[in-house]
């Protein structure tokens, strides 16, 4: 087994890739594709854990894997350090839990003879997301980004079997997502032109050399490249006001897809932003103006999206808008560019993934039983589906940032990041946002527990696999909320590493 260790970075990407291709060859009906996907994602989790162990052995160093042994300047290099090992683990874990969850939801929402294709695309999406995190080659990032995006478009479009609006939502996402990806490609082109390399660490080095020689002074190529990449990333991670594709896409996607995508896809976008803004441009370029703009967008995003969430009448849409708002927290966090702020961002990637994943799963269970996720379907479900609704409630408390849930930890870091630079107003905006989140969470909770049950409502609880999946995430949220020793240290370490490149 030890012979595999040096190949771990690439195995992380190849496992879901070949797993996905093989899933398409599985029998069309029956549970075989699902079981295969579960196996693949479980193996992926094992690999990710193994990877984290390797990284922890020497946390100061990075593990570089050269594909085909081409030198990093010419070929594709995968570079793993504490930050992306952590993000990969988050993605792998959530992929596994979502796959566990997917069984009943997919059986219900996808035609019986298409399950093999569904899981094939599902695994390829995971491959793309893990790949983005693993690679250090900018063009490879673009390719993997498109792999994950194209598969996610397809997955969302599969919501058409339940609601045809999934198609338009998916197409909107496709158009905006492709524009974003093309912007990123364009930005990478400018950097390639300037540095002659695609490898991120190498690119950074070249830029530093140019900076030392003074040729970077007033260089507009780097500025334009940075601008294109920032906008592209903003689109990909649904930073307000570039989030327009997100609410409908999350609302109309099949339940399992909402859970997977909401908890991982935008997070991967955020990870890319970390890499580009801190690792690549960090010391090269004074990005304080951009970061200020991002802080502005982030805060506005928190407030506006939370208000939109408070107005929505479809619970999935509430959650979708809330995702945009929560992403605002992450953006605000790293835009502070200080240790606590970036740590808040890093830790919120995990905390929000876990919380929102659990909530989308609970929501999906309601879709399964009631046929839709309208607020009206939730009437009195506290009695009919107690375990699911309890999961939803705890998840909601996590969104608000109540103590004992992971959301509180993020908020603590975020506020200390804001106060670190004496930005009291930022802290207040962030907290005001969480007050609005009380409103939208409580609208649903009141309906769940206080309204009279619809007579036609089913008596049944959600299926067992669904319950297990959502409760894994809910308990993770609580555990991360009472004991953030490990995650907090990891986030602080990752933040120091990122900022270290910047100061």
């Amino acid at each position: 087994m030890d012979a595999l260790i040096p190949h771990l970075p690439v195995l992380l990407v190849l496992t879901p890739l070949f797993g996905g291709l093989l899933a398409a060859l599985m029998p069309r009906r029956g549970p075989a594709p699902w079981m295969w996907s579960l196996l693949v994602t479980a193996f992926e989790v094992v690999l990710a854990l193994w990877m984290v162990k390797q990284v922890q052995r020497s946390p100061q160093e990075t593990i570089t894997y050269l594909i085909g042994w081409w030198p990093a300047e010419y070929g594709i290099a995968y570079v793993i350090d504490a930050l992306n090992a952590y993000v990969i683990l988050v993605v792998a874990l959530l992929a596994f839990v979502s796959t566990l969850y997917a069984k009943s939801s997919v059986e219900d929402e996808i035609p019986k003879d298409r399950h093999n294709f569904f899981y094939s695309i599902w695994l390829l999406a995971i491959c793309g997301m893990v790949g983005i995190c693993a690679t250090a080659d900018t063009f490879n990032i673009y390719v993997l980004l498109e792999i994950s995006s194209l598969t996610v478009y397809t997955l969302i479009a599969m919501g058409k079997y339940r609601d045809r609006r999934a198609l338009t939502a998916s197409l909107k996402y496709l158009v905006l997502g492709s524009i974003g990806a093309t912007f990123i490609l364009l930005g990478i082109g400018y950097l390639l032109m300037l540095t002659g390399t695609l490898n991120m660490p190498d690119m950074h080095e070249q830029l530093m050399l140019m900076k030392a020689k003074g040729t970077l002074e007033g260089n507009r190529t780097v500025l334009v490249g940075f601008a294109f990449i920032t906008v592209g990333l903003g689109l990909k991670m649904a930073m307000w006001p570039l989030h327009l594709w997100l609410p409908n896409a999350y609302t109309f996607a099949p339940s399992a897809v909402s859970a997977l995508v909401a908890s991982t896809a935008t997070k991967v976008g955020v990870y890319m932003a970390f890499r580009f803004i801190f690792t690549l441009f960090g010391t090269v370029y004074d990005s304080s103006a951009t970061l200020a703009l991002m802080a502005f967008c982030g805060t506005l995003g928190i407030i506006v999206s939370s208000i939109r969430a408070a107005q929505a009448n479809n619970v999935k849409k509430i959650l979708a808008y809330s995702s945009v708002g929560q992403l605002g927290y992450i953006v605000v966090g790293f835009s502070m560019a200080n240790e606590s702020g970036v740590a808040a961002s890093v830790i919120h990637i995990l905390n929000h993934a876990v919380t929102k994943g659990a909530m989308f799963m609970a929501c999906g269970a309601v879709v399964l039983r009631m046929g839709n996720a309208d607020l009206k379907s939730f009437y009195g479900l506290g009695r009919r589906m107690p375990a699911t609704m309890a999961a939803f409630t705890v998840g909601g408390l996590g969104l608000i940032g109540m103590p004992l849930t992971s959301g509180f930890i993020s908020k603590f870091y975020l506020v200390s990041g804001a106060l670190h630079d004496g930005q009291w107003w930022l802290a207040l905006v962030v907290l005001a946002g969480s007050l609005i989140s009380i409103v939208y969470v409580w609208r649903v909770i009141e309906v769940i527990y206080f309204k009279k049950t619809d007579k036609r409502a089913p008596v049944a609880e959600a299926p067992f696999t669904m319950l297990i999946a959502m409760w894994i995430l809910v308990s993770a949220s609580v555990v991360l909320g009472v004991d953030a020793e490990l995650t907090g240290r990891l986030a602080e370490f990752a933040a120091r590493a990122l900022i270290g490149g910047a100061s």
């Binding site: 004992l404 506020v415 106060l419 802290a427 007050l435 409580w442 009141e446 206080f450 004991d483 953030a484």
Partner: protein
């Protein structure tokens, strides 16, 4: 033999809550569990008194919530007073609950007892918290677990609306004001531990925290603790009165509101440091804010016809006494505040018990309906009278002791405003409490033939036992205030002067 410890005191009600759920619909078993749990908890807390008198005990760390800030508990005099009241009154309140909930055929009783046990657990957490983060977490949990109790009568619209006001104000204030204050403290001082004299000393001397910022953080804390019901953050308290009376009695007269004033005292003493406030000339405004709150709430109470609402506004004003005690920024004032936490608890719970008793027996909620009720319900109204005397601060009740201490503290600190407030509010207290007593005993009851006038006697015996019990406590503590007085003294001794 398990050593009594703060962690145990938190674990007992949690286990009790789990057992309540396990007992479920077997109500005799369920209520026996509640009683037994409250008894064991009280014994555990009593066993901790010697540790408290010896000053803050070593802290027990439970979990690392954040890498450098653990969830930690310790025993110290102020928390001891609070824990003692809450756990002791929980026994009487459980007796009372059994009578009240059964007589009024309330629904969801298992949920009721579960949430009650959880509330007490978080109260213990607040009382024994060894750092600000622990206090904050338990404080928020208390808001959450009392929410189902406040909305107990849902789907009634009034209950849901009251729940919104309740949670809205409490959580908004704590998140918007208290959380930044806490994080600010952490950023500027690098610690959130509760230590005598506060944690700001060094930062203030070094000048890394300017005095205005120090004062600002204090301001955020004081208004962030909405549970202390400092005006204008008092609206949740009258709103919470839609809950069943045992909830109003123990939680909204004792546990939750005391969590507020306790936090005010604890933060002022152990995190901010009252001597630092006095030294840097900050926080003087609190005395006036509290004083105005006392008078205004008393004036509003004067015009309330609903008995529970009148009691609620009286609570608002009494709480501000305690805040005022803390705001005198001297050890004597803090000691008086600590004493008043105990004194008010016994008086006010008696009054609420009596109100619930009247509701159970006669289904009356308004002051104007109480004519001559004292003759039908002598025990209840007798206890009510004792409670009133304690509120006004007349002997032979414990209210007199604490009010006397407050006056003494104000006199020593030469706070003439405070003295004025105390005098005026005492008159106002008398003005809104004594007419009730007068009506009950000296007005003739409506003639038996009047339509809608139910025939009734005393309330069920558990209620009567509880209400008489708390009234007796309020009177006994006048003669033997030693336990609380010693604890209050121990608190004062520890404070730097």
């Amino acid at each position: 033999m398990i050593e009594p410890s703060p962690v145990l005191a938190i674990a007992i009600p949690l286990v009790g809550g789990a057992l309540v759920v396990a007992a479920g619909a077997r109500r005799n078993l369920r209520e026996a569990v509640t009683l037994l749990t409250s008894g064991i908890l009280f014994a555990t807390v009593l066993a901790l008194i010697p540790a408290a008198l010896a000053g803050p005990s070593p802290t027990t760390e439970v979990l690392h919530v954040l890498p450098e800030i653990p969830l930690a508990f310790h025993v110290e005099p102020l928390g001891m007073i609070y824990a003692l009241i809450a756990s002791g009154l929980w026994i009487l309140n459980s007796v009372y609950s059994i009578g009240y909930m059964r007589a009024n055929r309330e629904a969801h009783q298992t949920r009721f007892y579960l949430c009650f046990a959880l509330s007490i657990a978080s109260v213990m957490g607040i009382a024994f918290s060894a750092n600000m983060l622990t206090l904050f977490m338990c404080y928020e949990v208390l808001s959450l677990v009392t929410y189902p109790l406040v909305t107990h009568k849902a789907p009634k619209v009034a209950a849901i609306r009251a729940g919104r006001t309740y949670l809205g104000i409490l959580v908004s204030a704590s998140v918007l004001l208290m959380l930044p204050a806490m994080v600010g403290t952490w950023m500027y001082t690098g610690t959130l531990d509760f230590v005598h004299g506060g944690v700001f000393g060094e930062a203030l001397e070094r000048g890394s925290v300017p005095p205005w910022l120090f004062g600002f953080i204090f301001f955020l804390f004081m208004y962030g603790i909405a549970k202390a019901a400092l005006m204008p953050f008092h609206r949740w308290l009258p709103a919470a009165m839609v809950a069943p009376t045992p909830v109003s009695a123990l939680l909204h007269a004792v546990a939750v509101v005391k969590a507020g004033v306790f936090s005010v005292c604890k933060i002022s003493t152990y995190l901010i440091g009252v001597d630092k406030l006095a030294e840097y000339g900050q926080g003087g405004w609190l005395l006036y804010a509290a004083g105005i709150s006392v008078i205004a709430a008393s004036l509003i109470a004067l015009f309330q016809d609903n008995l529970k609402r009148r009691l609620a506004y009286s609570t608002v004003s009494q709480l501000s006494y305690i805040t005022m005690g803390a705001a005198m920024l001297n050890p004597l004032g803090m000691m008086a505040a600590a004493m008043h936490i105990a004194a008010h608890a016994f008086g006010k719970i008696t009054l609420f018990f009596a109100a619930g008793s009247i509701y159970t027996a006669a289904h009356k909620t308004k002051v104007s309906e109480l004519d001559g009720i004292g003759r039908r319900m002598p025990f209840t109204m007798g206890a009510f009278t004792v409670g009133c005397l304690s509120m006004i601060g007349l002997p032979p009740t414990v209210g007199f002791v604490s009010k006397w201490m407050l006056l003494g503290a104000a006199w020593t600190a030469e706070q003439y405003f405070a003295i004025g407030v105390l005098v005026v509010s005492t008159l106002l207290n008398a003005a809104y409490f004594l007419p009730i007593v007068y009506r009950a005993f000296f007005r003739p009851p409506p003639s038996p033939g009047t339509t809608g006038e139910p025939r009734h006697g005393e309330a069920p015996w558990p209620i009567v036992v509880a209400v008489t019990g708390t009234a007796l406590c309020a009177a006994t503590l006048f003669f033997y205030p030693s336990v609380f007085a010693e604890l209050a003294l121990a608190l004062m001794k520890g404070m730097p002067t």
